[in-house]
Symmetry: C2
Subunit: 289 residues, 2 copies
C-alpha cells in the first residue's frame, strides 16, 4: 500500500485551514510564520516560495524576509533578535544553507526556541528527546504522522533507520523508540560505519532510508511485507526531462514496492508532509505562546 | 577482562586533583560544586555525602544546601535562582527524588544550563544530541570513559542498549552511535516492548544493560567475546549481610564473565565512574564559563 504523502498532507492542511478559520471567526489573530531567505539560491527560493504559498492557503499570515547574500553575521543576528521580539509573529524559519561567511550554528542558536518551528534549536531537540512538549523537526514529524494516519503498527517492531543526520535520521530514531502512537519500536540506527547493512535491513519490519543515495535499497535487501519510508531526495541528471533532472529517492521503488506492505513514493511521500508539519508547528506555536 | 570502574574513577580523580592544584598555584579559584538536598532520605544523604567528600578530595570547593522536606516549590525555586546568580559557583546538582509536592520537571528546567553539571536540562541534552559542547549526564559519560580508557573497539560494532531511561539508556544509545572515540557503533535501543530480546543480545558485540532487573542477562543470551556494561544497581534482600541487602547488577556476573571479553562488575564498575564524571563536568563548567 502506498503511503500517500500528498493526500495526507492535503488532509492536514485542510484541518489546519478549518482551525484557522475558526480562530478568525472568534476574532483571533491567525498564526503568523516568517521565513528568512539570505541570497538567491534557486532551490532555496523554490522551498521558501512553497512554504509561503502554503501559509496563504491555510489562512496564516506570512512574511518573507529577503536579505542580500553579502549581509554580515551581525546584521543577520540583528534581524533574528527583531523576529524574537515581534509579538505578532508566532514562528519563523531561517532557510538553509546560509552563505559561507555566516556561522549557521550561531544563527540557529539565536532563534528563540519558542519560535523555532523548524525544531532545530538544541533546546527543542532536548525537550523532544526527553519527551517534553516541543517542536519536532518537520521531516521526522511528517513520517510519524504518515505512520499514524495509515495505522501502520510500530509497537515492538524492529525499525532500522539508515542515516544519522541531525534533521532526519537521529530524530526519527529517537521518536520511533519513544512511548506513544507510532512509537515503541525497537530501533537500530545505521550509518556509514555500519557493517553488513543488508543483514540488518533484511530482518527489519520498518526501514527508514535517510541516506541521500539514489535507489540504494533494493528488493533483495528487505523482507517480504516490510514497511519502507524513503526520505531521500536526490536530483539525478535526466536529459529527457524539461528540468534536466529527476528526483530519486533512496529506494528502488519499482522492485521494492512489490515486496513492501507499505511504502512512500518519491516524490509524493515524505516530501509534501514536511511543509504540512511546518504549518502544524506554527499553529502549535500560536496555541502554546 | 574486568573494566575496573573503581580504579579508572580514581585515575580520573587524580587527574582532576592535579589540574585543580595547578589552578590554585596560579592563584585561580578552584571549581565549586553545590548540592541541594531536600529532606532526609537515607540513600540521597549517602549519595550527596559521597559527592561532597569527592569534591574535597580533588580540591574543589563544595557547598551542601540542606532544605526541609516541607519547603514550598516557590521557596525551592528561589534557592535555584540564587544559585544561578552566584558567580562563585560553577555548577550544582539537585539531588532526586524531590518530595511529591514539588514538580521535579519545573525545578530541573529552572537550573541554568551553564551550571547543570548533571546534564539533565533539555538544553544540555539537545546540545549533546546535536554534537555541540555540552555537559553529558554522568552515568553515560562514565561508560564512554571506561570504554575509551580500556581501548574497547566500538566503531562499526553492534551495540544493544537495554532500557530507554532519560538518564542512562537514551543518552548512551545516542553517544555510542555518534562520531568520535568510543562512538560510531551501530546501536539498537531495546525496551519493554522489544520482542525476542535474546535474539538481539546474542548477536550484539556490546551490550549495555540499564534495566534495573537483578541478574537478568544470562550467559546463554550473549555471544562469545561480547563486551558487557552493567548499569543496574538493585538492592536485593540478604540477611547474611550486615546491611540486610546486597547490590546486584542486571547481569549474572559469575556465568557471563566467563564468556565476555570485557565486563563491568557491580559494584565497582559503572557506579564509581558516575561521581568522577560529575567532578569532571564541574571542572568543565569552571573552564567554560
Amino acid at each position: 500500500m502506498v503511503l500517500d504523502g500528498k493526500k495526507t498532507s492535503n488532509e492536514i492542511k485542510e484541518e489546519i485551514k478549518i482551525t484557522v478559520a475558526s480562530m478568525k471567526s472568534r476574532g483571533q489573530r491567525p498564526p503568523h510564520l516568517a521565513a528568512v531567505l539570505v541570497g538567491n539560491d534557486g532551490a532555496s527560493l523554490t522551498y521558501v516560495g512553497s512554504k509561503v504559498r502554503s501559509c496563504e492557503y491555510v489562512g496564516f499570515d506570512s512574511t518573507l524576509i529577503r536579505l542580500e547574500s553579502n549581509i554580515t553575521e551581525d546584521d543577520l543576528l540583528q534581524h533574528i533578535r527583531g523576529l524574537n521580539e515581534d509579538d505578532n509573529l508566532d514562528g519563523y524559519i531561517v532557510q538553509l544553507p546560509l552563505p559561507k561567511h555566516i556561522n549557521e550554528e550561531k544563527i540557529l542558536l539565536a532563534i528563540d526556541p519558542k519560535k523555532d518551528v523548524d525544531g532545530f534549536h538544541p533546546a527543542n531537540f532536548g525537550r523532544m528527546t526527553l519527551e517534553l512538549k516541543a517542536f519536532i523537526p518537520a521531516t521526522p514529524f511528517g513520517i510519524m504522522q504518515l505512520l499514524e494516519r495509515y495505522n501502520v503498527p510500530t509497537k515492538g517492531k524492529h525499525c532500522v533507520v539508515v542515516g544519522r543526520s541531525h534533521i532526519v535520521g537521529r530524530p526519527i530514531s529517537i521518536l520511533m523508540s519513544q512511548k506513544g502512537i507510532s512509537g515503541n519500536a525497537t530501533v537500530t540506527l545505521a550509518h556509514s560505519h555500519t557493517k553488513n547493512l543488508e543483514d540488518l535491513t533484511r530482518t527489519a519490519d520498518i526501514i527508514i532510508m535517510a541516506l541521500g543515495m539514489p535507489e540504494f535499497l533494493k528488493a533483495n535487501m528487505i523482507k517480504e511485507g516490510a514497511v519502507i519510508i524513503d526520505v531521500g531526495i536526490t536530483r539525478v541528471q535526466d536529459n529527457n526531462n524539461a528540468k534536466g533532472y529527476i528526483i530519486k529517492g533512496d529506494v528502488s521503488y519499482e522492485e521494492v514496492s512489490k515486496k513492501a506492505s507499505f511504502i512512500t513514493p518519491v516524490p509524493g511521500g515524505v516530501g509534501p508532509m514536511t511543509i504540512a508539519m511546518l504549518l502544524k508547528n506554527t499553529l502549535l506555536a500560536r496555541e502554546w505562546n
